[in-house]
């Protein structure tokens, strides 16, 4: 590009979407007001496990203002177990017992919160009144809550047709762990328990459905992260053509993973009821429902061992773990596969033997939530290395450095299969500079002195450092259509959904550079299946990577069309032209320029002929599918002060050094990382789902389930290194989940350091932690 063209790519551009959001004019699902609209509420099971004897809605139907009430038996043939969203990867010997949920329980309930009936009324208030009118008879069965107990003979069966509560069993290995262990100088074995929580976006889920009988058109506004998938799914179950179904994901108030699950029962029930009643229907999940009706991520138990040589080099890792998949497993194996793969981290691990068993429990369904199982794996390897460092008397940073994959080893094949069915191969990376930067930024070299000095003043400081890699930007593909409009503005449409990632700006930056216009002149549409028909969705840190590259490809073609048309217009060579300021100009000839708007009109003429083999308009639709995921990496470092009596803590310093390849917008990237770290802090020290033995969630409110506030999340210092991905033309890697991934081990390590726990023989092998839990661990140790 010539110097006249402004480069937006890489610049901290302010967001196009902000103005609507700042002035209260952005449309969220609950903002829709349609004349004649009815309101839905769902009756949910209050017991975790039981035979469903009867659900009687007759009293509800008699209530004034109630229009309809349905149970599973009213659904007829529409009642079907839902689809499998992600099939298991082609791993040899994989066992996978697919059991998906239906939209209303029929014979059995399997978790507290499972829908039993839906009421449609003139207001949500009345619909909630009517829920109390419904008579439910359930013959209670023992709840299945504990993962180990669930696998014991005689345990109650979540799915009676299976002989056990095994949802899946997968073993992946590389090399020979037994041989590695045989020659090891040190073997460290530990049991780890890691629980992730709920995504809890500030906007809960919601569905508005409108069946237009005369047009034969079903429109569904949904808080989904994957509108095209949902459209296709709805068309299939309603026996409609894909063109008869429009799914719109308007502004969505955060997603973080669970909003991609499909089908949520309400996503079927609300449209179904709309077709029955021929009225628009709104269902908005309330916060209480969100705690059980939206998917969780939850826990794993790992029995892991690491074999090391005398210098602390890893010879092998063996891990056997249990994964809680909840009552059903519609999302396949994504979460535990991510745990299995991400455990390997940025380290050379010559022998790896990992086996997991996914376990059915009578708890809400588990699907990916920001990090998607990666946290669990990272916790295991980082904690193993900390313990190894202590036992081998090697500095924790040094033991990590010794095991990093060297920069000349890329692409680095881990020889196991990743969640996208491709071999787990790291495309590019350069890990040591990241570690060095993080150590510098946190002041690692001088910390021991600082710590000693602080201790003499009665202050207990602790430091921690943790590595991670993240497979991002996986396939299959995304597409985009870019069009220069006759008014000079450029429209971009893509099939992914947006929940705050800044797609309206980063895609505009990409396009603005290619066609030579202002970022603010680019209008991006995401999440409307009538605007773009194809796509997969926003998940796995892939929006910018996959859709971004599709946008770039389409914009590149439009750029070529602009140049060709302008060259015809000026009767000059394309090389003599430059794009910028919304116009095409002949290089070095001021005044000889043509606006993009004028070219757009010329490209769609009223008279004359469009030449054979050409298309009208300055428009292109292109697709991009990466051959494999792009591997981002990073290091987090933290200094905390712990109150040695109360065991409360304060984060004094937090550093993130991150490599996500080429950066499109550093401001938006920073926001993604800040938000990820905040959720990581919540996971590590605040958020714990408390279930009792009966499978009841005891802290289902935002007063009791603790999301971090502005006083709990510290100021973060961010630094970057850039190792472009060779797998896409823009060289970008995903960044959405990275911030959240390594925070757990950081807390464990820092607290141990601050309180000198290792010297007392106390190890922190679980997440989440809390002052109350630390008290238990410390007092139990005596």
């Amino acid at each position: 590009m010539s110097s006249r063209e402004t480069r937006n790519f890489g610049a901290p551009i302010r967001r196009n979407e902000d103005r609507k959001l700042l002035t209260g004019k952005a449309l969220f699902v609950d903002d829709l007001e349609i004349p004649g609209m009815l309101y839905a509420a769902l009756l949910r099971s209050s017991v975790a496990h039981g035979e469903l004897i009867s659900v009687d809605v007759s009293a509800a139907l008699a209530r004034e203002g109630v229009v309809a009430a349905y149970t599973a038996h009213d659904l007829g043939d529409f009642w079907q177990p839902g689809p499998l969203l992600v099939p298991p990867p082609p791993i040899e010997g994989v066992i996978f017992n697919l059991r998906t949920h239906a939209c209303l329980a029929k014979d059995k309930v399997r978790y507290v919160g499972e829908p039993l009936a839906i009421v449609i009324a003139e207001s949500r208030y009345i619909a909630e009144d009517a829920l109390a009118d419904i008579a439910v008879e359930i013959e209670q069965l023992p709840a299945v809550v504990d993962l180990e107990a669930a696998l014991k003979p005689g345990a109650a069966l979540v799915h009676d047709d299976l002989r056990s509560n095994v949802s899946a069993h997968v073993r992946q290995k590389n090399g020979d762990y037994a041989a590695a262990a045989a020659k090891a100088a040190h073997i460290i074995k530990r049991r780890f328990a890691y629980e992730h929580g709920i995504s809890s976006p500030m906007e809960t889920r919601g569905v508005v459905a409108q069946w237009d009988e005369r047009a034969g058109q079903l429109t569904v506004w949904d808080t989904t992260q994957a509108p095209v998938f949902l459209r296709n799914g709805l068309a299939a179950v309603f026996g409609l053509s894909e063109r008869q179904v429009r799914v719109v994901a308007p502004f969505v108030g955060g997603g973080f993973g669970p909003k991609i699950m499909m089908f949520y029962p309400e996503e079927l029930l609300v449209p179904w009821a709309s077709t029955r009643l021929n009225r628009p229907i709104k269902w908005i999940e309330d916060r209480l429902e969100h705690f059980v009706a939206t998917t969780h991520e939850r826990g794993q138990i790992h029995d892991a061992q690491i074999a090391l040589d005398a210098e602390g080099r890893i010879l092998g890792v063996k891990d056997v773990f249990l994964h809680d998949t909840g009552a059903y497993d519609p999302y396949g194996l994504t979460v535990p596969i991510n745990s299995q793969c991400t455990l390997l981290g940025p380290y050379v691990i010559p022998a790896y033997d990992s086996t997991f068993t996914a376990v059915f429990t009578t708890l809400p369904i588990v699907t990916p939530y920001r990090g998607a199982g990666r946290q669990h794996g990272v916790f295991v390897i980082e904690r193993l290395l900390d313990i190894a460092a202590h036992e081998l008397k090697i500095d924790p940073a040094e033991i990590r450095r010794r095991n990093l994959i060297p920069p000349d080893a890329f692409p680095y094949d881990n020889k196991i299969i990743y969640q996208d069915f491709a071999p787990l191969s790291y495309d590019s990376g350069n890990y040591e500079p990241i570690l060095n930067k993080a150590l510098d930024a946190i002041g690692y070299a001088g910390f021991k002195d600082e710590q000693k000095k602080a201790l003499s003043e009665g202050k207990h400081l602790g430091i921690a450092i943790a590595n991670y890699v993240e497979g991002t930007g996986i396939g299959p593909y995304e597409g985009a259509r870019v069009q220069v409009q006759a008014n000079g503005r450029v429209s971009v449409a893509t099939g992914i959904g947006t929940q705050g990632q800044g797609h309206f700006t980063v895609f505009a930056q990409i396009v603005a550079d290619q066609v030579g216009c202002l970022v603010t002149d680019v209008d991006v549409v995401t999440g409307d299946t009538d605007r773009f028909h194809w796509g997969a969705g926003t998940f796995a840190s892939r929006g910018a990577v996959v859709a971004g590259n599709a946008v770039n490809e389409a914009a590149l073609v439009v750029r070529q069309k602009i140049l060709k048309l302008a060259a015809d217009h000026f009767e000059c060579a394309e090389e003599d032209l430059e794009l910028g300021n919304g116009e095409v100009q002949i290089v070095g000839v001021p005044g000889r320029s043509v606006r993009l708007s004028e070219l757009a009109m010329k490209a769609n003429p009223m008279r004359g002929a469009v030449k054979p083999g050409t298309e009208p308009g300055l428009e292109s639709t292109q697709y991009f599918g990466p051959p494999g995921g792009a591997t981002a990496s990073g290091v987090h470092a933290m200094i905390i002060e712990v109150d040695p009596e109360l065991l409360t803590l304060e984060i004094k310093k937090y550093v993130v050094v991150h490599d996500c390849g080429t950066v499109i917008n550093p401001l938006i990237l920073a926001g993604q990382i800040h938000g990820g770290v905040a959720q990581g802090i919540g996971n590590a020290f605040y958020e714990k789902l408390l279930f009792d033995d009966a499978g009841q969630l005891l802290n289902a409110s935002l007063a009791d389930y603790l999301l971090p506030t502005s006083l709990d999340v510290p100021r973060m210092q961010l630094e970057h290194t850039v190792t472009p991905s060779p797998l896409n033309p823009l060289g970008i890697k995903g960044a959405g989940e990275a911030g959240a991934i390594p925070v757990g081990p950081l807390f464990a390590q820092a607290i141990e350091d601050a309180l000198g726990l290792k010297a007392k023989g106390i190890e922190l092998l679980e997440i989440p932690l809390s002052p109350g839990r630390l008290w238990q661990l410390i007092t139990q140790a005596g």
């Binding site: 700042l22 500030m202 955060g254 007063a703 502005s710």
Partner: protein
């Protein structure tokens, strides 16, 4: 069965009369009766702060009041914050500092923190964080919001 009460409320400077059922939450009244959907609802139990409005000038959770209680009172919502096309300095600073991502918590934060700035023209970072602590944000990690409030304070002082 429902008794209804006629209330007169001044919202963003405009007086409105409506008939409401006693149990109608003020948040629902603002959103679905007055059609001012910029005020968002995140929890309906007074924790998340998304529904914060100004009630007689004070930041208040609109999910913890009934519409009927607003009779004779003044309400300000996010829709009234900008002056025509000109954003409030805090709105502008939120844009400039990238203080919002999904934007769902943003209206509540704007109402809380614009009132805070009115009475605290020169806050330090801790004071900002303390004032912000009743508004949950799940996207930003708060850092850019804090930056935005400090930036707005600086601009409003000069």
């Amino acid at each position: 069965m429902t008794d209804s009460h006629t209330i007169a409320v001044t919202v963003n400077g405009v007086r409105t009369e409506k008939s409401v059922e006693p149990r109608l939450l003020l948040s629902d009244f603002i959103r679905h009766e007055l059609m001012l959907a910029g005020t968002h609802v995140g929890c309906e139990h007074g924790v998340c702060g998304a529904c914060t409005i100004l009630f007689d000038g004070f930041p208040t959770r609109s999910c913890l009041m009934f519409a009927v209680q607003a009779d004779g009172h003044e309400i300000a919502t996010v829709e009234g914050l900008s002056k025509g096309e000109t954003l409030h300095p805090l709105q502008q600073a939120m844009h400039d500092s990238h203080g919002l991502q999904c934007g769902y918590c943003t209206p509540g934060i704007l109402m809380t923190m614009s009132a805070f700035l009115d009475s605290n023209p020169s806050p330090d970072e801790h004071a900002v964080r303390e004032a912000l602590s009743g508004n949950l944000c799940r996207c930003t990690g708060y850092q850019h919001i804090v930056d935005a409030v400090l930036l707005a304070a600086e601009r409003m002082r000069t």
